[in-house]
């Protein structure tokens, strides 16, 4: 093979006609003393691989079960970061269902009265119980994008860590509210099957190894309109997670849907409500 063939191949791989929004970005695992510096670093790498917008959530230091003071601090850091780069980043508010009144207040502060457009729920408490319902209901009223971390770990989940099965139980109580299944359960062959019949659940491809077949199975079982690209940076590289879509044996139209179309359709109501151009 002539090496001159490489440039068009890589350009095709990073086809600029693809619009890419990254659903799943964090301020941890990346150098920088301030949130602004860290998001700047993420954007430096995002530029190199053609990613236009980042959804950012959780602060510079995480806790599995954050107190209200802690999640407010983390959200403050995200607010600072996205204020510096409002044309490149969206913010999601981190909440803890163990602290419902404080979480509802944070939802008002950051989404209803602030610039954030989504909600992040992590591993403090499994999402199948009714305690979380007020948060989902209010987030839905605000048209916020709702993201719930999930895993099916062979090595056992954390005590408060949801599985895709837990998320299905939640989604059945809110059948008209779209909810994103974070990591697609990590063990994606199980996660995809678990959420398949619950049509208001969407698959986040982020944060697992770039094992060949994940995207093909997700598209086959869910349709590209229920699949979303995300990286889980800075702990993950953009490269390994982009490869799940760039390297998948699916059509170019399906790739574009996963890179941008699905997330944009979920975000359009709140972007319009807030008058955000994107």
């Amino acid at each position: 093979m002539r090496e001159s063939d490489l440039l068009p191949r890589m350009q095709k791989l990073m086809n600029p006609k693809f619009r890419i929004w990254d659903l799943h970005c964090h301020l941890s695992g990346v150098p920088g003393l301030t949130p602004e510096e860290r998001l700047g670093q993420l954007l430096r790498y995002a530029d190199r691989v053609g990613i236009e917008r980042l959804c950012v959530y959780m602060g510079m230091k995480w806790s599995q079960d954050p107190s209200p003071d802690d999640f407010r601090k983390q959200n403050d850091e995200v607010l600072r970061a996205i204020a510096k780069h409002p044309d490149r980043a969206f913010g999601f508010v981190t909440l803890n269902p163990k602290h419902v009144p404080e979480s509802l207040a944070e939802l008002e502060r950051c989404v209803a009265n602030g610039p954030m457009v989504g909600v992040k729920l992590w591993v403090a408490k499994r999402c199948d119980g009714p305690e979380i319902d007020p948060l989902i209901a209010r987030a839905a009223e605000l048209k916020a994008v709702i993201f719930q971390h999930t895993w099916f770990k062979t090595t056992a989940n954390y005590p408060g860590e949801s599985t895709p099965d837990d998320l299905v139980a939640l989604a059945k109580r809110f059948p008209k509210v779209p909810i994103i299944c974070g990591h697609t359960g990590g063990t994606w062959e199980l996660g995809i099957r678990a959420i398949r019949d619950q049509k208001n659940l969407f698959a986040d491809l982020a944060g697992s190894d770039p094992t060949a077949g994940i995207t093909e199975m997700a598209v086959r079982e869910l349709g590209a309109e229920r699949v979303i690209y995300g990286s889980d940076c800075g702990g993950r590289s953009f490269a390994s997670q982009l490869a799940k879509v760039h390297g998948a044996a699916i059509t170019e139209a399906q790739k574009q849907q996963i890179f941008h179309g699905t997330l944009r359709s979920l975000m359009t109501p709140i972007l319009q409500a807030k008058g955000i151009q994107a």
Binding site: L7, M10, T154, S208, P210, G235, A239
Partner: protein, 272 residues
Amino acid sequence: MNRRLFLQSTAAAAATPLMALEQAAERLDVNFATGPWPFRDLPKLDGDSLKQRGITQAITGSLEALLTRDIAAVNARLATACTESGGVLLPAGALHPLLPAWREDLRRCRDEHAMKVIRLHPNYHGYTLAEPIFAELLDAITDAGLAVQIVVQMEDQRTQHPLVQAAPVDLKPLHDLLKVRPKARVMVLNANAAMITTALRGCDSLWLDGAMIEGVGGLENTLKAWPAEKLCFGTHAPFFYPESSLLKLVESELSGTLLTALTVDNARAFLG
């Protein structure tokens, strides 16, 4: 920022790595495999598929070697597959030191199949690097004039099949083993960033591949603490999408010289 401005502002950032990639005349993947994976139908990648992705040669092991006891047959099939690739696939034979007569397998790898590399899977074959049998194996391979690849893990433990779980290989013994074996040519495949900065710290004679090095700018960050002449391009395909490691070369800010080292020169030095 609107779409047009984004494209204009990122064009330069994207063009630089693409131009650097264009400069190299070849690209050698140190971490490729053939054969079936017991738990998933992997993509059918071969020499032609690699060439389409700009990979001109690949050190290739057999996935059959993980669980098959007739290692001699596995190596013979691997040798045939590599021969049929027209030189794109370079065979890395398997040895299982807990099987009877493993030295005969080593002899066949070298003398009958002309292999230059042995690929080991200690966590699937049931021994540790601290056991005497590993030192014996390492010496035998080195005495035979071959290089050795140690696969530290095949996949994330969290996603393994519950009936076939294999913890990553404990790499800590390598430091002392290599200190007294200056002629051994050893490469660790699929190490992650945590392993590199802990268990492998100070193992400067060792080569690594980047297939499982994660984090934004992962290669660039690894090179802050690891010798540039000891890091190689490896895809872990077809288990991983090969585009992952290709895009890592673009994501990290690497000079043309560094790219050539990572994708060609370092692997050639390992092959001897």
